[in-house]
């Protein structure tokens, strides 16, 4: 990129994206939060535990990529799935940016492009089939009864009608198509 302005100082607030279409989409996806106010102080990254344990994960960098519209560095990188969504970054950002929301937005765009992590597809399948990301098991049913609870909890597990409602909503939002396993489709 060409350096502009006096002494090579670039105006950090007017950087232009490299992929305007992606930028628009990302911004829509981010929703309430504005990544533009970020001045790359790195306070988010310095307190981020994902940064401590996962090499190459830096929330301030992802916010920077978002502002520049560097699509592949975001949706094309598995590193975006390292965030535990702990929201610490959002709490400490002096500019009221929420890096966590930028990361989640990038993930949703990745999923939309069919780049969901395989294990996530699996648990999404549980949601579609049972209404729960973590369904009950026979062992737990026994434990529930021992505790004086109904073996089957009073959730979608106990109501076919409720389960059908959830299934219908997942079809209507496109979730089932996006994350369902082909063979179920």
């Amino acid at each position: 990129m060409k350096k502009e302005g006096r002494k090579g100082l670039r105006d950090l607030f007017s950087m232009q994206g490299e992929d305007p279409e992606f930028l628009r989409e990302l911004r829509r996806e981010i929703g309430e939060q504005e990544p533009d106010a970020c001045f790359q102080c790195m306070r988010c990254t310095s307190g981020c535990d994902a940064f401590k344990f996962q090499k190459g994960y830096k929330p301030h960098q992802l916010v920077g990529f978002a502002r520049l519209g560097l699509k592949e560095r975001m949706v094309g990188s598995e590193v975006i799935w390292s965030c535990t969504t702990c929201s610490y970054c959002r709490e400490v950002c002096p500019q009221r940016v929420a890096p966590v929301d930028v990361v989640k937005a990038a993930r949703r765009l990745a999923v939309r492009e069919g780049r969901a992590v395989e294990d996530h597809r699996k648990i999404a399948g549980y949601l579609i089939r049972t209404g729960h990301l973590v369904p009950v098991s026979e062992t737990v049913k026994e434990l529930r009864e021992k505790l004086g609870l109904p073996g089957t909890p009073p959730t979608t597990h106990a109501s076919q009608k409720a389960l059908e409602e959830v299934g219908e909503l997942l079809r209507r939002t496109g979730f089932a198509r996006l994350l369902g396993e082909e063979k179920d489709g």
Partner: protein, 295 residues
């Protein structure tokens, strides 16, 4: 909304992995004279970090469906898992604030004969207990516990604090006051506010990496010689309890740290037996802790 009674939102991990937390919650609230009613046909909240990372509309619509069940009962919602709390609280807030979005969600809900007017409130059970009053709570303590505990706040109880506004997110006291009410000492430790490692779909995608968080916290607790870790979220509970077995397998490190959900700790202090609180069904034995308490 009727006070003194709540719609008890179960979620997934509580009823389907740690029903002891469900049993404990039902029992302690009954003791306090606060009613909990089942939300029949509720689904996954859906999980904020997982489904919220897949598709925003799905997260909103399933959340709204769950909230509509409570609205139909005329009750506010109570949760014992901070993930569920985060989703239901945030979905509710967004739908209250944005009528346009509410219309869009209701259009989808009408396809299954439901609607949500955004009239309920969503509470985490620690907030309900704290509002009930620490002094009032003490009156129900039959057996002051005298334990040295480490509180794990988890992430989604307090953060993001902008709208939840329950306590100082960087120096909280809410849960410390609740454990102190039961005669426990709450020990400070450096990673007090650190995530358990499970959130955001990290546990299912990268188990070993997610356990790095868990392990770091457990190391600090072991050094400080605490009797147990106290959590207020069923997902954190799973990560610390089952996670210790996984850490043994993947890192060859053993902690033997009992993991107790606050509903269970309160039950013990009220004189309930560990078995009726499901504490004999944890992956990590609670025996050392129970021995210290005596008969």
């Amino acid at each position: 909304m009727v006070k003194g009674e709540y719609a008890f939102y179960l979620g997934c991990i509580t009823p389907n992995r740690y029903p002891g937390i469900e049993a404990a919650t039902r029992k302690v609230f009954e003791r306090l004279g606060i009613g909990l009613r089942d939300m029949e046909g509720a689904s996954c909240c859906p999980a904020p970090g997982v489904v919220g990372s897949f598709d925003a509309l799905t997260w909103l619509v399933l959340g709204a469906r769950n909230l509509s069940l409570a609205e139909g009962m005329g009750l506010d919602v109570l949760t014992v898992c901070s993930g569920c709390f985060d989703t239901l609280f945030e979905v509710n807030r967004v739908l209250k604030e944005d009528p346009g979005l509410r219309d869009r969600v209701n259009e989808l809900l009408s396809g299954v004969g439901r609607s949500y007017r955004a009239t309920v409130e969503v509470y985490h059970f620690t907030k309900v207990l704290h509002d009930y009053g620490v002094e009032e709570l003490k009156k129900h303590v039959r057996r002051p516990l005298g334990l040295k505990v480490a509180v794990h706040y988890g992430c989604h109880l307090l953060r993001p604090s902008e709208h939840k506004g329950m306590d100082n997110p960087l120096a909280p006291r809410l849960v410390d006051e609740l454990v102190e009410a039961l005669g426990c000492e709450s020990v400070d430790y450096p990673s007090r506010l650190m995530c358990c490692g499970a959130g955001g779909g990290v546990r299912s995608a990268f188990l070993k990496y997610s356990l790095e968080f868990t392990r770091r916290k457990l190391q600090e607790l072991k050094e400080r010689g605490v009797d147990c870790l106290v959590d207020v979220c069923s997902f954190c509970h799973l990560q610390f309890d089952r996670g210790q077995k996984e850490i043994e397998d993947l890192f060859g490190e053993t902690f033997g740290m009992p993991v107790v959900h606050y509903s269970q700790l309160l039950g013990l202090a009220m004189g309930m037996s560990p078995a009726e609180l499901g504490m004999d069904a944890h992956a990590v034995s609670c025996e050392p802790l129970l021995r210290k308490l005596g008969p």
